[in-house]
């Protein structure tokens, strides 16, 4: 099995597989931890039982998701060494300390207070329990901060020099941590996590409202989720655009692939809405395009020239087809989220909200789309920066460990089998928890 693939291809497949599985859980638990903190705070403030019911309900789901995030994350911390040891040796002096900071300031915080948050309310009292919940949430955000700094440094390296033995040598830690793409990527990812969670919470609320439109807890979570969506979806589109402009400045080749610009456009580039990339002929077939709009978006001028992939050597070109499509999936879903948020707001104004069946059905359909958008976004940025691990400096093919293809193939197959079995079961349990009605007592919501 998997004969004929090189160790490099297999190692890349393995990293893509394990990291894609992993990112799903943090994307959910970052948002959910913040949501739980808000619910716990509202419960302590208002003593409205609905908030406590929701806290206990989502806490169980959080515990399962968080457990899956932990175990799939441990794999990641070793994957750098097993398959990408040359990269680890070279880039370790720069990104290693950042990852150590992630462990020290985030993982321990989450893990240390998780037990108290899950099992300790009676033992420590409301105040300390609230503190523990907030620490877990804070830990998830710290974790995102450090790991996105690492990733951003690999995309837009700064503050380093290169030594004789090929190692990256840290010169300026401030410049390394706050490298050019880091602030944009961090905000974009945290908002994505919040959107993902809001969509899931909204879908679960909608599911139960469809069964019982006066369920107080279901109504509350649906309402909170739709407010969150209304707040964050437009913000995310704005931040995403800013992130794109930042990418144009530092990784223009990635933008060429995202836009499908095989050719340079000296007098204003069109925005290609859809089309089928043809990598052999280096053109977009059946392209539907709006003239000069790409120049307007990226350069804020209709006639601004934009370079295409024809300006760079073939060996530096990322896989255009994947990037072209994943980018469109992400953007399309982003606008669909905005649409759902607008629909919900409109329904709320017209007092057709808790019993708006089509809105609720649409919310259920959109429930998993945050995950899809997160994955599509990561595929865009990670495939789009190929063929480099440290952008422009260290090629992916030069980062590989001295591993033999059969060993990587065997472990890849093992990971696939185990992940589908274990995380399939976990997803099933989470869905079953979500299928249970949040409030046993019933009751009506204050419309």
């Amino acid at each position: 099995m998997l004969d004929g693939f090189s160790a490099e291809t297999l190692a890349r497949a393995q990293f893509a597989f394990t990291v894609s599985f992993h990112i799903v859980f943090p994307a959910f638990s970052i948002g959910l931890a913040s949501f739980l903190t808000v619910l716990n705070g509202l419960w302590l403030r208002t003593r409205n039982e609905t908030y406590l019911t929701l806290f206990e309900y989502w806490k169980k789901i959080f515990a399962v998701a968080f457990g899956m995030g932990v175990v799939s994350g441990i794999v990641m911390s070793y994957q750098f060494g097993t398959n990408w040891s040359v990269f680890s040796d070279r880039a370790g002096p720069v990104i290693g300390p950042l990852m150590a900071y992630e462990v020290l300031s985030a993982f321990f915080l989450e893990a240390g207070f998780l037990g108290i948050m899950l099992f300790g309310r009676k033992r420590v009292g409301d105040q300390l329990h609230m503190f523990a919940t907030a620490m877990v949430a804070f830990g998830t955000l710290m974790s995102a901060t450090w790991i996105l700094s690492v990733n951003s440094w690999m995309q837009t390296p700064a503050g380093f020099s290169i030594t004789e033995n090929g190692q990256f040598y840290p010169e300026d830690w401030w410049a390394i941590v706050f490298n050019p793409s880091f602030p944009y990527r961090l905000v974009h990812m945290v908002l994505a996590a919040y959107l993902t969670t809001a969509l899931v919470v909204g879908a679960v609320g909608a599911w139960h409202l469809l069964r019982n439109s006066i369920d107080a807890a279901a109504g509350k979570m649906f309402s909170m989720a739709m407010w969150m969506l209304l707040l964050v979806a437009p913000l995310q589109i704005f931040v995403g655009d800013a992130h794109g402009l930042n990418t144009l400045e530092h990784q223009p080749v990635k933008i060429m692939a995202m836009e499908g610009h095989y050719d340079s456009h000296p007098h204003g580039a069109p925005l290609i809405l859809f089309g089928i990339p043809n990598p052999e002929e280096k053109r977009i077939d059946y392209a539907i395009e709006i003239p000069k709009l790409s120049s307007l978006i990226l350069k804020h001028h209709l006639d601004a020239p934009l370079d295409g992939l024809d300006t760079i050597p073939d060996e530096d070109e990322p896989p255009v087809v994947i990037v072209f499509w994943s980018f469109r999936i992400m953007v399309g879903l982003g606008f669909a989220m905005l649409g759902l948020a607008g629909w919900a707001a409109f329904g709320r104004m017209r007092k057709r909200f808790y019993d708006a069946r089509w809105l609720q059905r649409a919310s259920i359909a959109m429930g998993p789309m945050g995950f899809v958008a997160v994955l599509a976004g990561w595929v865009t940025t990670e495939v789009g920066r190929q063929p480099w691990t440290v952008y422009g400096l260290l090629r992916t093919s030069d980062s590989l460990a001295p591993v033999a293809a059969p060993a990587v193939a065997a472990s890849l197959i093992a990971f696939i089998v185990v992940y589908f079995f274990v995380f399939g079961a976990g997803t099933f349990y989470i869905l079953r928890l979500m299928g249970k009605t949040p409030t046993a007592k019933g009751g009506t919501h204050a419309a």
Binding site: V71, T82, P97, F107, F108, G115, V422, Y429
Partner: protein, 334 residues
């Protein structure tokens, strides 16, 4: 720079790995002993004795991996490919046991599956950690900043012995932890298990002590020449003292003494391994100074470590304190 940063960091990494071995040691040990829980309630109690803390325990493993990457990137880059298979298997095993904590409460029909996953995952993870230790003691071949050995170098009679030894050691840690945390029949059963397990562990410690100097003459030199020979007297004496304390604690039915004695055994063995290794981080040829990242990286990471590790220790201790005392079988966590 006046400070010998690689030396300081070697101490910190050694501390992190020791903390991991002790903390995850007893919680993997509980997993290894899981089938000895006779009833459903026994197994629930065993699981609940570690449910609030296992996640924090395992984080020390991430610090071990992440810390090594940060401060000894070359050691990380050499050891991981050399131990590719045992580490991958260990990671997969940890997945099975880790998810079992939540999954087994979410299903009736499949509870037995996750109970077995918890046992099997704990057992295999412990065995692979022992194998990795043995392979490291035997030495890892490095040429030109990269691993230069074969794919099966890690597998040898010696590494299998250290693998079994770690399983036995973790089982003893688990048994004595449960003596501390439980009452009645379950506690009685754990005392009965602890005795033969303790004897077996002492046997393995003796065997490993004899075999280790045979793996590489340098180990013998370190132990039988000054200043190492001082430790050759002290460490075994303390091992015997800890063994006596363990035996006494089990016979007089003390709650905490067997656990503390077992912890001491682990610390002493760990010191013994440290004496054999130093000044190498990857035997037989890679020293801590050769493997270290530049001082600038070490200093940057050290600032945060000095501030954060004490804080981590405080809130970790607090979490243990919150869940102190015997496990009440009627206090369901889920």
């Amino acid at each position: 720079m006046l400070l010998d940063l690689p030396f300081i960091w070697a101490g910190i990494i050694a501390f992190a790995v020791l903390t991991y071995v002790i903390l995850d040691g007893f919680d993997l040990g509980v997993g290894i002993l899981f089938p000895s829980g006779k009833s459903e309630q026994d197994r629930d109690v065993m699981m609940n004795s570690i449910a609030p803390v296992w996640d924090g325990n395992e984080t020390w493993l991430v610090l071990g991996g992440g810390g090594l990457f940060a401060v000894f990137p070359l050691a990380y880059a050499v050891v991981m490919p050399a131990l590719y298979m045992p580490i991958t298997i260990m990671l997969l095993a940890l997945i099975f046991r880790g998810v079992a904590f939540e999954y087994r409460w979410r299903t009736e029909r499949w509870k037995w599956v996750w109970d077995r996953a918890f046992f099997g995952g704990s057992l295999v993870a412990a065995f692979m950690q022992g194998i990795s230790l043995g392979a490291l003691v035997q030495g890892i071949k490095v040429v030109d900043r990269a691993y230069a050995g074969g794919w099966w170098d890690w597998l040898s009679p010696f590494s299998i012995i250290t693998g079994v030894a770690v399983v036995v050691g973790y089982a003893l840690l688990g048994a004595t932890w449960l003596i501390l945390k439980t009452e009645g029949q379950l506690q009685y059963n754990m005392r009965r298990i602890a005795r033969p397990t303790g004897i077996a562990l002492l046997g393995f410690i003796g065997l490993a002590s004899i075999l280790t100097p045979l793996q590489d003459p340098i180990y013998a030199q370190r132990w039988f020449n000054l200043p190492g020979s001082i430790f050759s007297v002290i460490v075994p004496t303390l091992v015997i003292a800890a063994a006596v304390a363990l035996w006494h604690g089990l016979r007089t039915e003390k709650d905490a003494m067997p656990f503390v004695a077992t912890l001491s055994l682990f610390v002493l063995c760990y010191i013994g391994i440290g004496i054999s290794f130093y000044p190498n981080i990857v035997p037989p040829s890679l020293s801590i100074w050769e493997a270290a990242a530049p001082d600038k990286s070490l200093a940057f990471a050290l600032v945060g470590t000095v501030v954060l590790v004490p804080i981590i220790l405080i809130y970790t201790a607090y979490a243990y304190w919150v869940f102190r005392g015997k496990i009440d079988p009627n206090e369901g966590y889920h």
